[in-house]
């Protein structure tokens, strides 16, 4: 949607039921972008607290994640979040489903940490004065008050990603969707971010190329060419995916999007 255009107007009333156990349901979902099918006939129901998504680049992981936040709407089929069709409630989804991007430099909108956190609070209805005060309190509760006045441009990559996660968490979403949040981080920062994520009460859905980060998860979806190739517990899916990577790497001919 063009930046200057008015927002999507829909007639259906929002009908979230935040108490349902199965928070996300995909019904034969297909998604085409620029004429290319990136997801093809995905059907699944998610009720686990920790869901990981793996797959090669171009397999549809990020598109699947974006369907959960309403950043993408299905070309065919339906995606239901908390019982509501995402087409009808796309404008309200960010309130309940937070989204953290791979690159913090593309996510942080404001120059300083406190302003970035306060923006999330204004999004959920706080006025400017209370948002400023609450932002500082929120940072304090997360033991990050020392970051409050810092320009985001001066933070380390790990701190930037932490701020992006906090900026989403401050909106009190029920679900946090993360699209490769540790890709740009060094080993220590990645561990710290993972610890932070594991400590959260929110339901986590995380796209990752780092298989070790997903070992403690409840369920793993392995995507390939826009379809679910395997769906199960990490103990089954991750070794199978790793073996497939080894097989492809050993192949004499480069396959698919191998580089």
């Amino acid at each position: 949607m063009a930046f200057w255009a008015k927002g999507r107007s829909v007639s259906a009333a929002a009908s979230f039921d935040l108490t349902v156990k199965t928070y996300a349901v995909f019904e034969a979902v297909s998604l085409a972008l620029d004429g290319k099918t990136v997801l093809d006939g995905i059907s699944l129901a998610l009720s686990e607290r920790r869901v990981g998504i793996v797959g090669l680049n171009g397999s549809g992981k990020s598109s699947l994640a974006r369907l959960l936040n309403g950043l993408r709407l299905p070309t065919n089929g339906k995606v239901r979040l908390f019982g509501a069709d995402t087409v009808s409630v796309a404008a309200q989804l960010p309130r309940h489903v937070g989204f953290v991007f791979q690159n913090p430099d593309h996510q942080a909108i404001f120059p300083t940490v406190e302003e970035e956190i306060a923006f999330g609070l204004t999004q959920i209805g706080h006025d400017r004065t209370s948002a400023r005060a609450e932002a500082v309190g929120f940072l304090r509760r997360h033991r990050c008050e020392f970051l409050a006045d810092k320009p985001i441009a001066t933070l380390s990559e790990g701190q930037k990603q932490l701020v992006c996660i906090l900026a989403v968490l401050v909106m009190q979403p029920c679900i946090l969707v993360l699209d490769e949040p540790m890709t740009s981080l060094d080993g220590l920062a990645a561990k710290r971010i993972l610890q932070k994520l594991q400590s959260l009460d929110q339901t986590l859905i995380m796209v990752s190329h780092d298989l070790s980060a997903l070992t403690g998860f409840d369920r793993i979806l392995w995507l390939e060419d826009g379809r679910i190739r395997m769906d199960g517990v990490p103990g089954d899916v991750l070794p199978a995916y790793a073996a497939d990577l080894d097989r492809r790497a050993a192949a004499e001919v480069w396959e698919g999007d191998g580089l």
């Binding site: 200057w4 259906a12 309130r95 404001f110 009190q172």
Partner: protein, 222 residues
């Protein structure tokens, strides 16, 4: 903002954003017809003294403006080719004073205060059914991402040097423009993921609301 946001509580930070913007506009209008280089040099000294009043951190901001020098040299060169050195020198001095002043305002002003100060200018947009906070946000985003684009330019410049051994040249303009477009798409997506620009509409109104209880209409523009 070409430099980095300065946090602090200096006299410039405490000056209300609308006052700073009005002074900036008034100063720009006054300096626009000036061609006397001596007078322009006095203006330059005055604006530099404002940076100095913010002490070390203020003077450090001037370092971030180094890439601007190339632009000024380019302008001066164009005037040189046209045989109008003296006019070019006045134009470059005027531009330098205005950019320095604008940068000083942006690095000492919170972005939400800036949006709040700019929004009334776009209030007439309501008459044609458009939202005033969107252009205000757009201007603020330009301010926010100027240093990020400079960083991207620095990375491209390093990559070019690493493979050619030569200094940066005009060929980097195209990849920089492409990266800027890609970045704008990413930022728009990130803004959408957090509910769009509707929260900014509340930035200027101190009407208390309880965040958790707020329910947004499906017809809300965003």
């Amino acid at each position: 903002m070409i430099g980095r946001q300065m946090t602090g509580s200096s006299w410039l930070h405490r000056l209300p954003a609308p006052v700073k913007l009005l002074l900036l506009v008034a100063g720009g209008a006054m300096i626009f017809p000036v061609t006397d280089r001596s007078l322009l040099l006095v203006c330059l000294a005055a604006v530099l003294s404002l940076y100095a009043s913010l002490r070390v951190e203020g003077l450090r901001q001037l370092l971030y403006l180094r890439p601007l020098l190339w632009l000024l040299v380019f302008f001066l060169g164009l005037h040189g080719l046209a045989g109008t050195w003296e006019t070019g020198l006045s134009a470059v001095l005027r531009l330098l004073v205005m950019v320095l002043a604008a940068n000083l305002v942006s690095v000492t002003t919170r972005m939400d205060d800036m949006i709040n100060a700019i929004r009334p200018v776009f209030a007439p947009l309501r008459w044609i059914g458009l939202s005033p906070q969107k252009p205000a946000l757009a201007i603020s985003l330009v301010i926010r991402f100027a240093p990020v684009l400079l960083f991207v330019y620095g990375s491209l410049s390093d990559a070019y040097r690493a493979r050619t051994g030569r200094a940066t040249n005009w060929r980097l303009i195209a990849p920089l423009a492409l990266q800027a477009v890609r970045m704008s798409e990413n930022v728009a997506e990130a803004l959408s993921a957090r509910g769009g620009s509707r929260g900014l509409a509340r930035c200027g109104k101190d009407t208390p609301q309880t965040g958790r209880a707020l329910r947004l209409s499906t017809n809300e523009k965003g």
